[in-house]
Symmetry: C2
Subunit: 393 residues, 2 copies
């Protein structure tokens, strides 16, 4: 219940609003900025000049329009100059990207994650990639910070890592260590892969324009990045979004969490492989082989895919009733499961979700593909810049 902002705060808010606009929409004419931000032309001119002086945007005349009169200058983000590092710690691989303002991937590296290597112990590998990329960064570039997307829940013996790390409840060991090794003057924010993927798809992907979004991400388990009313759902302690442990089948398959019939076990790789009669196989590639066999007409594989699709739709229907999202995105390996069983998912939704909510919801795959996690991790770092552009550079 704080009171309204001061004059200086307003100026910073306006700078942030302008920078956010071009960050999300790319090159924009001053005329459009004037209309969209509800500020007058001279204010837009002054704000742009200030951001340009800080090296955050540039201005240039647009191409010939063929129309009479002086054309409106075009403001664009300095994508090649202002950047963040984005790290993605996945089940079986590690990725690092240098991402420019505006969400442009400027450079990237990736490698395998050695089996059994704890998330916090991936630090030297991640740092190595970043240092390697850093050698080719121009001297006048502006580093704004880093974001880390971590797959699944981190569990560690010493308790230093949160069960579900978040922008607010950071994995201090990993985040601080990364910052210390590399670029100590800017923050390193750690978050869940599903959360940052939701943020990325909301900012510039399949969920643009929707204020209520569920991004389902499957890697070790199933997590959801949930956006409610335009803002990320974190929950009271940063543990929200654990949809994989919603029980869909009382007394069903045992789950690692100690419960039975959790959603993530009923639609997981093991359930798919076992149903297809390939219970001795394990892992993502084996699961993808079953989906592939189903597409080629293998009856056992088709039955297994249908069964998984039913349970996938079951959980989605529950979430649709509870949250009334505008869009549900199937990310990670759920993308392939959804594409193979879309009809079953939709059928479950039709029989279980209330009409008003089910008619409204779009079911989609990630528009940013596998880059969602990296671009979302970078958004964590950019968010600080956008909140206060002149303080963060």
């Amino acid at each position: 219940m704080r009171a309204g902002p001061s004059q200086e705060e307003i100026r910073r808010q306006n700078l942030g609003a302008l920078l956010r606009y071009v960050h999300l929409r790319g090159a924009t004419s001053r005329a459009e900025l004037t209309t969209s931000l509800g500020l007058n032309r001279s204010t837009i001119g002054a704000l742009t000049a200030e951001l340009a002086a800080a090296g955050l945007v540039s201005e240039r005349a647009p191409r010939e329009t063929g129309r009479a009169g002086r054309p409106s200058l075009v403001v664009r983000p300095e994508s090649a100059r202002v950047y963040a590092y984005a790290y993605s710690i996945e089940v079986d691989r590690l990725r690092v990207a240098r991402i420019g303002l505006g969400g442009v991937v400027l450079d990237r590296r990736q490698g395998e994650r050695p089996p059994g290597l704890a998330a916090a112990d991936t630090l030297p590998l991640l740092a190595g990639f970043a240092k390697e990329m850093h050698q080719s960064v121009a001297e006048d570039s502006v580093y704004v910070g880093s974001g880390v997307a971590v797959c699944g829940r981190l569990r560690r013996r010493d308790g230093a890592v949160q069960v579900r790390p978040d922008g607010d409840r950071v994995d201090r060991t990993l985040g601080e260590a990364l910052g210390e090794v590399l670029f100590p003057h800017r923050p390193v924010l750690v978050s869940n892969a599903a959360d940052v993927s939701a943020v990325a798809e909301h900012a510039r992907g399949a969920a643009t324009g929707y204020d209520n979004v569920i991004y389902l991400h499957r890697d070790v388990g199933i997590d959801a990045g949930i956006i409610v009313g335009g803002r990320r759902l974190t929950g009271q302690g940063g543990h929200g979004g654990e949809v994989g442990h919603m029980v869909v089948r009382p007394g069903g398959r045992p789950c690692g969490c100690g419960s039975y019939g959790c959603w993530e076990t009923e639609i997981g790789e093991y359930a798919l492989l076992e149903s297809a009669g390939a219970g001795e196989d394990t892992g993502r590639d084996a699961a993808l082989r079953v989906i592939d066999a189903a597409s080629r007409g293998d009856a056992n594989a088709q039955a297994a895919v249908r069964q998984i699709g039913d349970w996938l739709g079951f959980g989605v229907a529950n979430l649709v009733n509870i949250l009334n999202p505008g869009v549900v995105i199937f990310g990670g390996t759920l993308r392939e499961v959804y594409l193979a069983a879309a009809a079953r998912v939709r059928s479950r939704l039709n029989s279980m979700a209330l009409p008003a909510s089910r008619e409204q919801v779009r079911l989609r795959t990630p528009q940013l593909g596998e880059d969602a996690a990296l671009i979302g991790a970078a958004e964590l770092a950019f968010e600080q810049l956008l909140a206060d552009p002149l303080d963060a550079t």
Copy 2:
């Protein structure tokens, strides 16, 4: 992505912030307002004077403190003078209250809702109560608007009423009609009983201080008023919170929605009565008799209560995993079910919810009791006043 506010907008924001503070916390010293709102003393003085001139607050010296120096003036909301009407349309009764700024019930009426009478057709009865109360309202009082809490989902043949009416997606027939009959110059906002009860308990009840709240309300079905990050969850089209149709038991009891095993059927009155061997009875009173019998040691009734408690805890555990709330409140007749079966609910939570989330969540009954719906409905009307105090009077 609007830009920052103008000077005039800030003044209004500050007026709203000050008024909101005393609305929620009651009489407050200028000194505390200065600290809490982060404004200087002269600004607080000017804002208070402006609100006092508009008749929204009053100031007076505190009682003798025994300390040296001039004591800080105390600002209090003009609860007896500034008011809203709150209507509650329930399964079997109708309630109307006149509620003063600060959430004080100034006057109230209630009567039975004739069986079979559609929500929109309760208008003459509601209007009658309000008109009766209005005769004793002082002439210099300020009416700010009305709120209506409607139990369950409204379904009507003509489609004019939304499935789940909300502040944004109003039941125009009922809301407009009430406004036309009574006080046409101010808005009448219609919302779901669970939603406004959540708002009320969050503002001044069992959920004060929590930004993530689930208020479960049972009347015809089970609805949830959900607060995420301090704001009401409405969903993309105003249909969020339909937790009663989360399926907890695949292939379970048939539900009116066309699905099977919905949460609201598995913990509903019929399920309780049938389990207790009283399947020929119906209604709330019969259900309360079973709960009462259980408390007196009736074995059948105890078994039925345990079973319902199990399913109640089952659904709560799912919601806790998905949303990580700080508090879950059991309202309507769920209050009695919860109190009778709290151990079973907690046990389910322990076996199904993830440790980090379950350790954090408080299970509570409404602190405002049955007034939650009325006080919450009034909050809808006050919200407009608080957003812009001088425009709304």
